[in-house]
């Protein structure tokens, strides 16, 4: 592969002069080597970020990222791209805020435009219970050093004129506002990390499913894949919805259930919404993409599902509620709808942990809110894999918390899956 070309305005002009024939591939796709120091299973955002920070922060560069399908084709390419860090519990606020702050400079770090747009995220309080909950989170955020404020319905209207404040069914009583939250281009996050990993000499191998994990004396020694047997020193499983399937192949079970979560986008319209609005009581999230489409996220299904298709009734519920809150969207047509398989834990908090198999680490359980966590998750996971010991960010998210009853309970905090 040609050496990485720095993306810049100058490079763009130069390439324009020669018909764009000089751009090298963003990442290379080699055949697997015999052995790697670390194998990461899963080339989604979290897996690639794990590999990137292993190389960047810990100088571990003999790394392969194995992907069953194509790069960024799972939940990384299926989410609604919302980035925020307004969580209740200290451990969550720490890792999500780390992540959000990494997003601020990610484009410069990776030399790849991830289109981070800190346009502000508001979570609407539409019941008195929810209003009190968000005031509580706001108080916690002040102590944690996460910049949020609780705003009045008038301020909501000022920030987002298309909201119907007065109900009748779901009046807006206030909102939790995080001005530096926002969105980013989801594919670009995966592509940017992949390009930077490839630059460090790491191997990204797509269409390479791990079919079994080989161990000797309780320690991982390698994996069997669709492209042959590969040895490894350490193994990081970062596969979101399929965590249970891969863990089973490594010989252990997880406190995880996989369910479908859906999203949809409307036809493009003129700019009408320049913030992200989350309405948790009615399970609807909405923002407007740069193309003008309204990007809408819904609630999760209630039963286990690996099919990447969700129930129609959840779309109906989400749209019905959003039309009431945003009357101007009532005649919009929806263009596309899709589902992703999310890995839900009992306390709705992630798992970054060592496992019963020595040398195997797992990063999963981000449930319905993994995209926002990609940089922080990769940062903390790389620390865990490199040192065989979680750092401060991951310390509370071990698998043992379910046995010991030390939950990081975010499910009650928000009242919904998130």
């Amino acid at each position: 592969m040609k050496p990485r070309q720095k993306y810049s305005a100058f490079a763009l002009v130069r390439e324009a002069m020669r018909g764009h024939t000089g751009w090298p591939r963003a990442w290379n796709s080699p055949l697997p080597s015999k052995r790697y120091d670390v194998i990461v299973i899963g080339a989604g955002g979290h897996g690639l970020a794990t590999a990137y920070y292993l190389g960047k922060n810990h100088q571990i560069r003999n790394v392969a990222v194995l992907e069953k399908g194509w790069l960024g084709g799972g939940n990384t390419g299926r989410n609604t791209t919302i980035i925020r860090s307004n969580y209740l519990q200290d451990a969550s606020a720490a890792i999500y805020e780390k992540s959000r702050s990494l997003y601020e400079e990610l484009s410069q770090q990776l030399n790849y435009n991830v289109m981070f747009s800190p346009r502000g995220v508001m979570m609407l309080a539409q019941t008195h219970h929810e209003a009190r909950g968000y005031q509580r989170i706001n108080n916690a955020n002040i102590v944690q050093g996460v910049a949020t404020e609780y705003i009045s319905p008038e301020q909501v209207r000022e920030l987002c004129p298309i909201i119907s404040i007065s109900g009748p069914r779901y009046p807006v009583l206030g909102a939790l506002w995080q001005a530096r939250g926002g969105t980013a281009r989801h594919d670009a996050v995966a592509w940017g990390y992949a390009r930077a990993c490839s630059e460090m000499g790491m191997h990204i191998i797509e269409q390479c499913e791990v079919t079994s994990v080989r161990t000797e004396g309780g320690r991982v020694v390698g994996v069997e894949t669709g492209k042959g047997s590969i040895e490894c020193g350490k193994l990081a499983i970062v596969v979101a919805g399929h965590s249970g399937v891969v863990a089973e192949r490594a010989g252990f079970r997880l406190p995880i259930e996989s369910v479908a979560l859906q999203a949809l986008v409307s036809e493009p319209i003129k700019p009408c919404l320049d913030v992200v609005v989350m309405a948790n009581t009615v399970h609807g999230y909405i923002s407007q993409s740069d193309k003008g489409e309204l990007v809408i996220g819904g609630g999760a299904d209630q039963y286990n599902n690996y099919s990447q298709r969700g129930s129609f009734l959840h779309i109906e519920e989400t749209v019905r509620a959003l039309v009431e809150t945003f009357p101007i969207i009532s005649r919009l047509q929806m263009l596309r709808q899709w589902g992703g398989i999310v890995d839900m834990t009992g306390d709705r908090s992630p798992i970054l942990s060592r496992t019963p198999v020595e040398g195997v680490y797992i990063n999963c359980g981000w449930g319905t809110g993994g995209f926002k966590a990609i940089p922080g998750s990769g940062w903390a996971m790389a620390e865990l894999v490199a040192n065989d010991q979680p750092g401060a960010l991951a310390a509370s998210f071990g698998l043992e918390r379910f046995r010991e009853g030390r939950f990081i309970d975010e499910s009650v905090a928000a009242g919904v899956a998130h």
Binding site: H242, G244, E257, Q302, N305, Y306, S307, G346, R403
Partner: protein, 106 residues
């Protein structure tokens, strides 16, 4: 939309009429159980990609709990059966084996 036939009232119910209750046939941790048994019972799930036994509540119908055998990959339903049992009945198991010859009951 997922449809399940309630084995008590016989109605083929849409999922809007039902409430999912998670994995079935979990062994309840007995009194005096240790942390590991409680963890198994409360949190650890088989979460298979394929045949899954699960509990359902006919919440907007007859109000009874029942069991279903379903494929989490294709959404096929192999059968529904009474909640008053510790394991799936033979006819459900043979239906699963007929349609999934390689399936092993873990």
């Amino acid at each position: 939309m997922l449809k399940l036939t309630c084995p008590y009232c016989g109605i083929e119910a849409d999922e809007t009429e039902l409430h999912g209750g998670g994995e079935a046939h979990l062994e309840r941790a007995a009194g005096g159980a240790g942390d590991s048994e409680l963890e198994q019972y409360l949190f650890i799930r088989s979460n298979p990609r394929g045949v899954h036994f699960e509990r359902w509540h006919h919440i907007h119908g007859c109000g009874k709990w029942f069991h279903a055998a379903r494929c989490t990959e294709t959404m096929e339903v192999f059968g529904t059966y009474s909640a008053q049992t510790l394991r799936p009945p033979e006819n459900t198991l043979s239906e699963i084996k007929r349609r999934r010859p390689n399936w092993v009951n873990a």
